[in-house]
């Protein structure tokens, strides 16, 4: 077991039910700083639910989750929002960009939430725009971008505020294989560069391949770790 000080995230015996259906059952694992974890499993295995719990969006009925020493379960709604703002970045399957904001502005949004001063915001945003290769499209609206381009923006947005943890739910689910590969590569490079941990929920082998470890869920239980 890695030393407690180096583990970023600890999931301890988390359980959740919806009605009488048990979606998660005594799930436990840890994630170290900068580690990439793939959560795999068939549909209905509770991957998404678990991801939501990690992000503070859903609450487990049993067990607890500790992120950087703080127990998430004890935080109230506003504190959870702050948690999401400061320490977590999310990448969705359906991109979820704000349609009225340009690429640059979408990426800038988390920094504005954190009240980062304007000059620093501009520098950071610019560097990420370049890093994801969208300089030419920096002022376009999401509606004008392709799926791959949108996801790149989403990734930049998820990383710009230097979170400790990225949660990605099927990030390539809506992309063709070429784009998907690019996105995965980008994810691996960026999280490697910035030392950000990644929990990636996925069906695809390619996606799981960029991760250090895999956690396989079936019927809400961890079956394998590799």
């Amino acid at each position: 077991m890695p030393a407690a000080s180096s583990s970023l995230l600890q999931v301890n015996a988390v359980g959740k039910r919806y009605g009488d259906r048990r979606v998660l059952d005594a799930v436990s694992f840890t994630v170290a700083r900068g580690e990439r974890i793939a959560l795999t499993g068939p549909s209905g295995s509770g991957k998404t639910t678990l991801l939501n719990c990690l992000g503070g969006v859903d609450r487990p009925d049993e067990g607890n989750i500790v992120l950087q020493g703080e127990s998430i379960g004890e935080l109230d709604s506003n504190a959870l929002a702050r948690l999401r703002r400061q320490r977590i970045g999310t990448v969705f399957q359906f991109f979820h960009l704000l349609p009225t904001l340009t690429v640059r502005e979408n990426i800038e949004l988390p920094l504005q939430l954190l009240q980062v001063p304007a000059a620093e915001r501009t520098t950071r945003v610019q560097s990420f725009v370049e890093r994801v290769g969208l300089v030419a499209r920096a002022d376009a609206l999401p509606g004008q971008l392709s799926g791959g381009e949108q996801q790149r923006v989403a990734i930049a947005r998820a990383l710009v505020h230097r979170p400790s943890l990225i949660l990605a739910d099927e990030p390539t689910g809506n992309l063709d294989s070429a784009n998907g590969a690019n996105i995965l590569a980008l994810l691996r490079e960026l999280t490697g560069e910035t030392g950000t941990a990644l929990v990636l929920v996925t069906h695809s082998e390619e996606a799981a391949a960029i991760c250090h470890r895999r956690i396989h869920l079936r019927d809400g239980r961890v079956t394998t770790e590799s």
Binding site: L51, N52, N78, A81, R84, I88, T90, F95, L98, L113
Partner: protein, 876 residues
């Protein structure tokens, strides 16, 4: 700290959205602007109509300190030397005034229609008035004006000639761009030619000279009106000095003491106030109606903002997932509402000012007809009114946006947002039949409460309006409960058709939106139908009343009497001559004196009871005992009073009344009560012989003629008009038509508001269905995937909408019966004191119900069609 964030989000997310969807934004702003505009315009019109009541003498004198006038009739001039003696050496200007009203002669042929411009003739001693500090040109102000027909010369002879010239008049500078040389006016029953001697000089710091004011020398006007030796009032101005305030008070005490039973003391401010007070009930009612317009706007904006939240739920969810707090989301959405309110409010104020120019005429005409002459034709916007309008806009918008902002804030982060989830059912209290029942019970209880007494008589039906509100609210809740039963009822029919199945399934579990739409529509229908019942009842009652009271063939009055407070009369000789016309079988006269009783205005009228009882039947509410003698009785004089009188002065049959006339106090006893819709201030009716005795005046206000059988009324009319061009002669049918026209005019505004109300409710229905469909986009995609055609989807929505409308119509019509009863028996009775019979305008109500249901079906089909074309759900 979060202000910066809120502003950023507001700017980047909300305002950009506005720019991307300008039409929706414009519509929203427009709705709010309309609501504010209606309120502002009514408010401005109300204010203008009353502000235009100027105490006329003030334009000549600046402002008098005190006014004395006889409580009834005129003051004798012999009082003046007595006053001067009593005043001794006090530095007081004493200004006797005689006032008369006249009208411009009817242009061409047909007279008889009310509403022509009327003039006030003020007779003052033009020499005496030059002593006032405010006359810079002294006597030259009047008699020194050079007119085209007088040589421009400084010779003394000119002044004396001016002083001695025949009846001449000075007109307002606003009468016409260039003053005419001669003027014709109708004074009592004559048409009089007057020479125009010049223009009324405007005294500095005095009020603007109203366009309808004319000034004559006192003696001249007395001669012209046959009132030599009489004046209407005396005004007093204390001259400037270090003890002026003290002297004013002293003067008031002296005048009150001297005039104990002979005159009443007042001030120009008090007169203005009484004019305001007279119309307060009327204006309040108008204001309440206009507030309803704003309420309606609130409802629509709520719908629109709510729909917007639904549409943008995806974005909100993303923001939430990024870590934006709930409270921030709420603030942003409220800020949006506030900005909308600001823009809409400002626009509304501008529109309201424009609208006021139109409505001011309508209000003015009503005030003219019901209360007193006013020549308002423009309404001015003050800064405070403008600010009020804008604030109102903001408040309404924020109020409307409150719930949608909260709903937005409660949007879960994107990860857990499921579009297919059932839409919010709405707050529990808004569904509770218990609360609804409670409201209705409370409403019934409130209906028993009396009105809130207003100063100056009249009552404001506060409880009545509260009842209306409670009934609407409770009714709305109950109505929304009708949806499910309606759905179940229809499901038998619906089972065979797929679109019906789909539609009715939604109605079995109506969402909060459905309920709200039904409630709003029900409210609008209820109010509209309720008003229709009121108006229908009024119409019916007035027709009956007119039928009973207007029995004579010809009605004659001075053509100069164009407004409610006109004082024009017909001389006794003329009246006698009219009665003596060879075609006349019987004649009756009516004379009306405006008097003050208990500090409030009312009318003391006299007629020949013998003729009255022989030829017509007064519509009795409480008839006098059979065989009551109206003349020749010892003791208090028997009188009958109108119903408004009993309400206003709180007296009924058997009570006594004491009135002050120019020859002293008189005791009256009420022996009966009759219905009279012509006058809200109440009237006392007695035999004319008493009034001739008490006021020493034989002139009459109107003459009614019954013609010999077989005589053509129109011929006689033409004959009389030829003889007396200054008279207004109306045939029976014409008078009826005029009366009914005036009554309809007073309801003109309410008709407009009703129509707007229904229109708005139908628009609300459209917006509701739109939001609902947007919420159900998944289902629509599924339906299309299942193979429903666009038409079938539209039909489904149409069924949903029609069921909503039908439920609303049923509830609304039920509500309208209650509201109608309330309006007739409570609100109207307490405001004006009239008893109306309850008459249901079946045709109108049926038409309304049918129209609304069909409209609901049509617009729902349209929305359904639009919904069917929505693209498949893409992530925003």
């Amino acid at each position: 700290m979060s202000t910066a964030l809120v502003t950023t989000l507001l700017h980047r997310v909300i305002l950009r959205q506005w720019r991307l969807a300008p039409r929706a934004t414009l519509l929203l702003t427009g709705i709010l602007a309309l609501g504010v505009a209606v309120y502002v315009s009514i408010r401005l019109a109300n204010r203008a109509a009353v502000a235009s009541f100027t105490h006329f003498t003030d334009t000549l004198t600046g402002q008098s300190d005190w006014i004395i006038q006889a409580p009834a009739g005129a003051l004798a001039e012999s009082v003046l030397p007595e006053l001067r003696r009593a005043l001794g050496a006090r530095p007081v200007h004493v200004i006797p005034v005689l006032e008369a009203t006249a009208a411009a002669p009817a242009a061409g042929g047909d007279g008889g229609r009310f509403g022509r411009p009327s003039y006030t003739l003020l007779g003052v001693d033009l020499i005496g008035v030059s002593n006032l500090a405010r006359s810079p040109d002294g006597v030259g102000a009047y008699y020194g004006q050079s007119t085209p027909d007088r040589a421009d010369s400084a010779e003394a002879a000119d002044f004396w000639a001016a002083l001695r010239a025949g009846p001449q008049v000075w007109i307002s500078p606003e009468f016409a761009p260039t003053p005419p040389r001669q003027l014709s006016i109708v004074l009592d029953e004559r048409v009089v030619e007057l020479r125009v001697a010049g223009v009324i000089p405007s005294a500095p710091e005095a009020p603007r000279v109203p366009a309808n004011l004319m000034v004559m020398d006192l003696a001249s006007l007395q001669r012209l009106t046959g009132k030599e030796g009489w004046i209407d009032r005396i005004e007093f101005i204390v001259e400037a000095g270090p003890r002026q305030a003290e002297q004013r008070a002293e003067l008031a005490a002296l005048l009150a003491e001297l005039g104990r039973d002979r005159w009443s003391l007042s001030s120009p401010g008090a007169r203005r106030e009484s004019a305001e007070v007279m119309t307060r009930a009327f204006r309040l009612n108008l204001t309440v109606l206009s507030l309803i317009a704003l309420l309606v706007g609130l409802y629509l904006i709520f719908q629109a903002l709510d729909g917007a939240v639904v549409r943008r739920r995806g974005e909100i969810a993303v923001l939430r997932s990024l870590g934006v707090e709930e409270s921030t989301i709420r603030q942003v959405w409220l800020a949006e509402a506030a900005v909308l309110g600001l823009v809409g409010g400002t626009l509304g104020v501008a529109l309201g000012w424009l609208g006021a120019q139109v409505s001011v005429r309508a209000v003015g005409q009503t005030v003219n007809a019901l209360y007193f002459g006013t020549t308002v034709n423009q309404a001015n916007l003050s800064v405070s009114e403008a600010l009020l309008g804008i604030v109102l806009g903001v408040v309404t918008s924020v109020a409307a946006g409150w719930w949608p902002a909260s709903a937005a804030a409660r949007t879960p982060p994107a990860q857990v947002l499921h579009r297919g989830s059932a839409p919010a059912v709405g707050a529990r209290w808004a569904r509770s039949p218990m609360i609804a029942g409670g409201c209705l019970l409370l409403a019934v209880a409130c209906a028993q409460l009396p009105g809130f007494p207003l100063p100056g008589g009249g009552r404001f039906p506060v409880a009545g309006y509260a009842v209306a509100f409670l009934a609407i609210f409770g009714g709305g809740i109950l109505c929304s409960h009708l949806l499910a039963p309606v759905a179940r009822l229809a499901s038998a029919w619906g089972r065979r058709r797929a679109p019906a199945c789909v539609a009715l399934s939604h109605l079995r579990q109506p969402s909060g939106r459905h309920r709200l739409a039904a409630a709003a529509l029900h409210c609008a229908i209820g109010m509209t139908a309720g008003m229709a019942i009121l108006v229908g009842s009024f119409d019916q009652t007035v027709r009956n009343w007119v039928q009973r009271t207007l029995q004579a063939d010809l009605y004659i009055a001075s053509d100069g009497a164009q407004t409610a407070n006109a004082q024009n009369r017909i001389s006794a000789d003329a009246a006698a001559a009219l009665a003596a016309h060879p075609t006349v079988a019987a004649a009756n006269v009516l004379v009306a004196w405006r008097i003050e009783l208990d500090g409030r205005p009312t009318v003391l009228s006299g007629t020949d009871f013998a003729v009255l009882q022989a030829h017509m039947d007064l519509p009795w509410i409480d008839p006098p005992p059979a065989g009551t003698a109206f003349i020749g009785k010892e003791g208090p004089t028997p009188v009958v009073v109108s119903e408004s009188f009993t309400e206003r002065f709180d007296r009924r049959s058997g009570d006594s009344v004491r009135v002050t006339t120019s020859t002293g106090s008189r005791d009256l006893q009420i022996v009966g009560v009759f219905a009279d819709y012509g006058n809200e201030q109440g009237s006392i009716l007695l035999d004319r012989s008493h009034l001739v005795d008490w006021f020493r005046d034989t002139s009459v206000t109107s003459v009614s003629l019954w013609l010999q059988p077989g005589v053509d009324a129109d011929t006689v009319r033409a004959d009389l008009l030829a003889q007396y061009p200054g008279l207004s002669v109306l045939t029976n049918s014409r008078l009826r038509a005029e009366i009914l026209r005036i009554f309809r005019q007073t309801f003109a505004i309410t008709y407009a508001l009703e129509i707007i109300g229904v229109l708005v409710a139908v628009i609300g229905l459209v917006l509701t269905l739109t939001s609902v469909l947007l919420d159900r986009r998944d289902e629509l995609t599924t339906l299309r995937a299942l193979g429903f055609s666009r038409h079938e989807i539209a039909v489904a929505t149409a069924i949903e909408g029609t069921a909503l409308s039908a439920a609303a119509v049923a509830g609304g019509l039920a509500l309208s019966l209650g509201l109608g009863w309330l309006l007739i028996h409570v609100i109207n009775k307490q405001s004006f004191g009239w008893t109306l019979g309850f008459a249901l305008p079946w045709g109108q109500l049926a038409a309304l119900g049918l129209l609304v249901t069909l409209a609901g079906a049509a617009v729902s089909y349209g929305v359904g069609r639009w919904g069917a074309n929505l693209p498949a759900d893409q992530e925003a």
